[in-house]
Assembly symmetry: C2
Homo-oligomer: 439 residues x 2
């Protein structure tokens, strides 16, 4: 019998995260203060983020950072996640490629987001914080943060992008079961939300807007910090647990990836699985390819500009050197809510600029077609975001079929789509469309 | 660091199912032919079920039955499921009890049902069957069967109890993603459905009715067999993979359960986790207690009669010697759709009669209260069915708190509740009620 799943025992779990900033040939350009335009120091971030997270954000010297014991203990609730050989998908495609996926959907909250949520909630708790705020698109990050807050005894306030709040009401329910307060964004509870609703009362929201609201609430509330589910370097740092595990698991499988693929919203899922392997490209001369799969309607990596821009709609955040479609860009209402973001993290942006990785565009209909094929072949209904990674993987597998090459492909199944079935309903009924990008 | 999760490697997986019928002191009474009232032989079941499944149903001699290699291979997609020490729940309850749960919710379809669905689809395929029919309550069995049919290249037709079809539309979507045809029951597509709708046009359906429809379709269609998600002995046989794994995993944890608990609909989930441990009560003098947790509104074990009764509403099935509320019993519209069934499997019924196990009633509101507590403590939103097991476990844990005993409690988390969030919404809003039993 061929081995299908590879799982690490508890004593084999990585005990450190990997900080690729320390190994990068060209470091990311500095973040700039939104007011003074001066390079940021960690202290400048303290009013918004926990201090340790602020230091991690700007740490360009330590390649590995210890995972605190209480976080590691919570990781053991669901980690290691399985590395799975997708024999079913290979057969369905009739490809000689060896396809593996890292199954983050088995996390208790259904996605990889918990890896950073637990870390962020822990550091906040340690520093005496009582409340944490955040935004969420598809709801996966909000769910993870709500649970992590409950684990460490914090109150959580989540601004959920209105389009997702309406498309996915049950995500809200899960957050509420975990005890969080959930508000659709834009809302009238913040100045940022009021300003946007005044101009456009029917605005369906975006991650950029929801970030403005959550940051504003954190700034206005005592003992309150803001947390973020992607984009920032410390979030990606925490997500490297995915790739570090995958590295050991690929070794169990006796293979090494030729191509690593992940969907791309802000970059933490992509960086999480990629950076531990990219390390060997940088340091050991490996030639693995890394492909970020973004929605064709929100193509910051393939059609954006590399420049300083804000992380949010209103302009509360530091200026980030990144590939961006502009912080006023309003993404189309695709179902992959987690990918509806105008910019890319600063590390990924620099790596793309320097040629360490590639990006590809996926149309919405192609993403769901890939998702349905995967569901039938592997039994897991993937999140709309993850469908983008699957579509990109299928493209590579079909190239292998043409060339006859048995390349090893590894993608991250960032989450399941069981809360997104209305989107699948629409796809199966023929009611979904593609959205073009008019940049 | 305390170990939280115990997982078997692929080479440690059980390779046989456990057939408790062979070890029972008092064997179950024979099933009777619905027409002749004669004891059934396997051949009598061939028109409805695959032949191998019919033989397994009546096998009272072989204690262990080999799991076919192709089924075992599919099991490795998600098995072993984790055995988890519920430290979070223990802390929340402040109990000295050691609480473990077997996490079947990580199955690709979200519940334990896949364990039997794969086996049944496989045997049907081997015997040249092209179509399989079934009923589903909450939708968990229908989802599992739809995926299993897709795995083995069969067409699936699923009758979903109308109340669940309406309460949980996204279960239907998942079945459709897997390629199944889903019909709300009662429907006008069968004589059984028509007869019921004629008398009661607004009938919300029950498992008993849906079984009648699925059996009728199987009888009327060439190359078609019927499959069932619980109640029958061969279904429970396949589910013993849960308890057989748990036995090895409890050994890894260095403990042995004092109490084993599962929710109870037809008995396959309960028998699945219990029977491998009960074996040691029968053969080795162990004194483990086994508790079946059923809904207070559908209390066949605690308030039903032990007698011969039909498995379905219309009377198509063999007569089964079982604890039953009567096959015309119409269960209240609780959200735990998988527990809305009038009878108990024949093995469990005999074991209850003989004192090898106990049963307890759980009110709907208590079940959701327990589910929310568990979700906050362990991060997993449990299925409404599983909430009954959790409530019963909490009751036992609180007794331990009173007595100061560190008993080892093991329950089966049969599935997650991510498709049942409307029920949680109603609970959190205070809109749910208890239903009394008026037998």
């Amino acid at each position: 019998m061929k081995t299908k799943r590879f799982i690490l025992q508890e004593n084999e779990l990585p005990r450190q995260w990997y900080n690729i900033q320390a190994d990068m040939v060209n470091k990311p350009l500095p973040l700039l203060h939104p007011g003074t335009k001066e390079p940021l120091k960690p202290e400048d971030l303290y009013p918004i983020f926990a201090e340790e997270l602020s230091r991690q954000e700007l740490n360009q010297t330590d390649s590995f950072i210890d995972i605190p014991e209480p976080v590691l203990e919570k990781y053991t609730y669901y980690r290691s996640t399985p590395l799975v050989r997708a024999y079913g998908l290979e057969k369905a495609l009739d490809t000689p490629a060896h396809i593996y996926f890292k199954n983050e959907s088995v996390s208790p909250v259904g996605s990889h987001k918990l890896n950073s949520a637990l870390a962020q909630a822990y550091y906040c708790k340690m520093e005496g914080v009582k409340n944490i705020t955040t935004e969420t698109g598809a709801g996966q990050w909000g769910t993870a943060l709500s649970y992590a807050a409950s684990v460490f005894g914090l109150d959580a306030a989540v601004y959920q992008v209105k389009i997702s709040y309406e498309q996915k009401p049950y995500r809200r329910s899960v957050m509420q079961v975990f005890g969080a307060q959930v508000t659709p964004s834009p809302s009238m509870s913040t100045r940022a939300g009021k300003d946007i609703l005044t101009v456009n009362p029917n605005y369906q929201g975006s991650l950029g807007t929801a970030i403005s609201e959550a940051v504003e609430l954190a700034q206005m509330t005592p003992d309150c910090k803001y947390t973020l589910g992607s984009v920032l370097s410390h979030v990606t740092l925490h997500q490297t647990i995915i790739g570090l595990e995958a590295e050991k698991q690929m070794e169990m499988a006796g293979e090494y990836p030729d191509v690593v693929i992940a969907c791309f919203g802000g970059g933490s899922n992509f960086g999480g699985i990629s950076f531990p392997f990219m390390r060997h490209n940088i340091l050991d001369g490996k030639k693995t390819r890394f492909i970020a799969a973004e929605p064709a309607s929100c193509p910051k990596l393939t059609k954006g500009k590399f420049e300083y821009d804000f992380g949010d709609e209103t302009g509360y955040t530091p200026l980030l050197p990144m590939f961006t479609l502009g912080h006023k860009f309003s993404p189309a209402n695709i179902h992959a809510g987690g990918l509806r973001y105008h910019g890319a993290g600063v590390i990924v942006s620099q790596l793309l600029k320097d040629g360490y990785m590639e990006a590809t565009d996926i149309e919405q209909l192609d993403s769901f077609k890939a998702g349905c094929l995967f569901a039938k072949a592997e039994g897991i209904v993937p999140a709309p975001e993850s469908c983008h990674a699957i579509a990109a993987t299928i493209n590579e597998a079909m190239k292998c079929k043409e060339s006859g090459e048995s390349k090893v492909l590894l993608f991250n199944l960032s989450g399941h789509g069981l809360m997104d079935m209305s989107a699948y309903d629409q796809y199966l009924a023929g009611d979904l469309v593609n959205f073009s990008y008019n940049g």
